[in-house]
Amino acid sequence: MKRALSILLVVALVFLSAACGGGNNAANGGTQGTDSGSSSMNNAGEDTAQNGAGQQQEKIKLRIYAQYADDDTRTPYDYAVAELAKAYPHVELELEVQAQDDGQKLKTLAATGNLPDIFQSNMDIIATFRESNNIMILDDYVDILGFKSKMHQSAMNTLYADDGHVYAFPYAGNELVLWYYNKELFEKYNVKVPETYDELKEAVRIFNANGITPLALFAKEKWPDIALFDIFATRINPRGILAMDLDGEKADQFKPAADMIVELVKEGLLPKGAINLNYDQAQSLFFEEKAAMFINGQWEIAASTEALGDKVDWMFYPAATKEDYEKFKYAFSGGGGPSGYSVNPNSEHLETAIEVAAFLSLKYAEYKYTHRGNPIVATATDKEIVVPYPPMMEKLAEVIPNITSTTAFAWGLSNTKFKAALEDAAQMLMTGAYDGDQFVQDVNFGLEQ
């Protein structure tokens, strides 16, 4: 009996340890990059030597965590990878598609020691990862690799973080929030392109009366909610949301902006259920000409031109009065911040990963400039434009030199608690069941945290 029990116990333990052993092996496999991080500089030296020799190079596989969702992110990435294959034939990239999850997956990968060699970062990721040494400081490399010399002077703010260090090779410049509109619908219903809030209200009334959704906003994502609020906020203070994020100012001064949005929402500015509308749904409303206006970044120019041709244009943001409209005409919402391709300091092939990250950023920007009709990129290229700018981009290119100020997108905010409070409060504005006082109270609460 005792022998039988002993055998049973041994078998049970063998099964258990085998199961745990398997898990450990998997974990070890997953954290290989981190484990070998202690010897990363040695490996890096080897990599450099190999690169320098340029022959008999060992195949290097790098994991990359990058955006790859729509044409605006897929095509530049594919182009950059194709160019990489020519310049670095020994490097192979293993893509993990970036999730739209507030960096949750990336942070989990970092916490478990599975951070990819190269990853896309923004202000939030940089602020979090630099505290835990999960992001490579690239100060020297931007000079060594000649990356800095290729940067547009106007986009230098996208290279340096608030502590003066470089954590990412940027490709995007100071992107802008644009207020698109369907010219044909405006003409058809004899609506004036609004310059004041009264004109905007009138436009909302006319479009609703004719069964047209005035403004398609993908409010489920929350950043467009902030963008819409910021548009109204910049008509009060050109610093917009940055006044609260960086300048230590309270939300009180922006109460009229919040009140105006609620008033417009009550008038029927947004479609019913707007806060459950995702990008595809909102875009469809606009592209199918069921909505007269649409808010998104300037990166939407290519897609909207393709869908609507010369029916689509963008307008300067309306303001409270004609005087304010002229006064703040060139104060735009949006803007850039430190972001781009970053490198895991514990990468097994650190030097190669840094070179590749810089290369990808340059090529990504190059494609956006040459093929996507987008001049708002961080770095310059000597390549010729293949796809000419759409008329909207030409108009924007003419306006850019006159822009007096920009603010930030939601992902460019540095104070995460303020960002979360603003996201929630801005979304509440879109319900119409909220008011300026509650908005101020909730955002100030976030600022005080």
């Binding site: 258990l16 259920g273 806060i275 509440m428 319900t431 909220y434």
Partner: protein
């Protein structure tokens, strides 16, 4: 068999693997959650011990916490009020009615249970759609002027989301009650019939009291399921509008991944564990205390 049950070493040997597994997979992480809740920690860097600081902030400073706690109770109440009575009603009707297609109905009631939560949420998102949704269209067809923006209204959103959860898992409660009803000996019903009790009276006086233990289990499932709810909010509303559909689990997610306050998120998780534990203890203490043996 008695020989083995009398042998304490044999009992230990047979239970040890499960015990070790439970400790590693459940108990250790729970202990870790409680431990981490005493730290100010972003999940990646160095943690700083703050004692009960996270709890103090939660109870006295965080307004979202109050919303989350309240929503958890609403959610649990909705599940209790919908899942158990409806599951019971359907189970009773299926046992009482002499009709064809009972097998089909039994499967139909259980079908939502096997659907993925994402599918269910997408289905209900379209049903709730303010402009083209089935629900509003139904009111319209009936001539009732009651069109609602179900998920956009901060006052109705939590009820709308809770209803989806209740509908999704109602089949489980139905199956539990049905199985329990079928296990009640037939002579109880026959005796009631001889005494002249009607169908409903029989159920109220005999079936329901005899199912007390099943209801206890259903109650624990419904309440802890409500307090733990996350997926529906995550998929359908993202916690919104604003923070209107936050629950403790969503607060935990927000703190850990949006605010980088992992320690605070652990405090929310620890409170959730305590909340579920207290509810389970209370239900076990006050509901169906006596074991019913037929």
């Amino acid at each position: 068999m008695h020989k083995y049950l009398g042998n304490k070493r044999a009992i230990a040997v047979f239970t040890l693997p499960a015990l070790i597994l439970f400790t590693v997979v459940v108990f250790y992480p729970i202990v870790q959650v409680f431990y981490r809740s005493f730290f100010d920690w972003d999940g990646l860097g160095q943690a700083t011990f703050v004692g009960f600081g996270n709890y103090e902030k939660m109870f006295f400073k965080d307004r979202v916490f109050r919303t989350a706690l309240f929503n958890g109770f609403i959610f649990a109440l909705m599940l209790v009020c919908i899942q158990i009575p409806l599951g019971t009603l359907l189970a009773f009707s299926l046992t009482d009615l002499a009709m064809r297609g009972k097998r089909f109905l039994r499967i139909s009631y259980f079908v939502p249970m096997v659907l993925s939560v994402t599918v269910v949420c997408q289905l209900w998102l379209s049903i709730y759609n303010a402009e083209y949704g089935l629900l509003n269209k139904l009111f319209e067809a009936l001539g009732i002027p009651y069109r609602q923006d179900w998920l956009t209204n901060p006052k109705t959103a939590i009820y709308a989301v809770a209803f989806v959860n209740a509908w999704h898992y109602m089949g489980y409660h139905f199956a539990l009650v049905l199985a329990a009803v079928k296990s009640v000996p037939e002579q109880f019903f026959e005796a009631a019939k001889i005494d002249g009790a009607g169908r409903w009276r029989t159920h109220f006086r005999i079936t329901v009291p005899l199912l007390a233990e099943t209801y206890k289990f259903c109650l624990v499932l419904a309440i802890t399921g409500g307090l733990n709810a996350f997926a529906q909010m995550f998929i359908m509303t993202g916690g919104g509008p604003g923070t209107a559909t936050y629950t403790l689990t969503y607060l935990m997610y927000r703190s850990a991944f949006r605010l980088n306050e992992f320690g605070y998120g652990c405090a929310a998780a620890a409170l959730l564990v305590l909340e579920c534990l207290i509810v389970t203890i209370l239900i076990n203490r006050f509901v169906a205390r006596e074991r019913i043996v037929y």
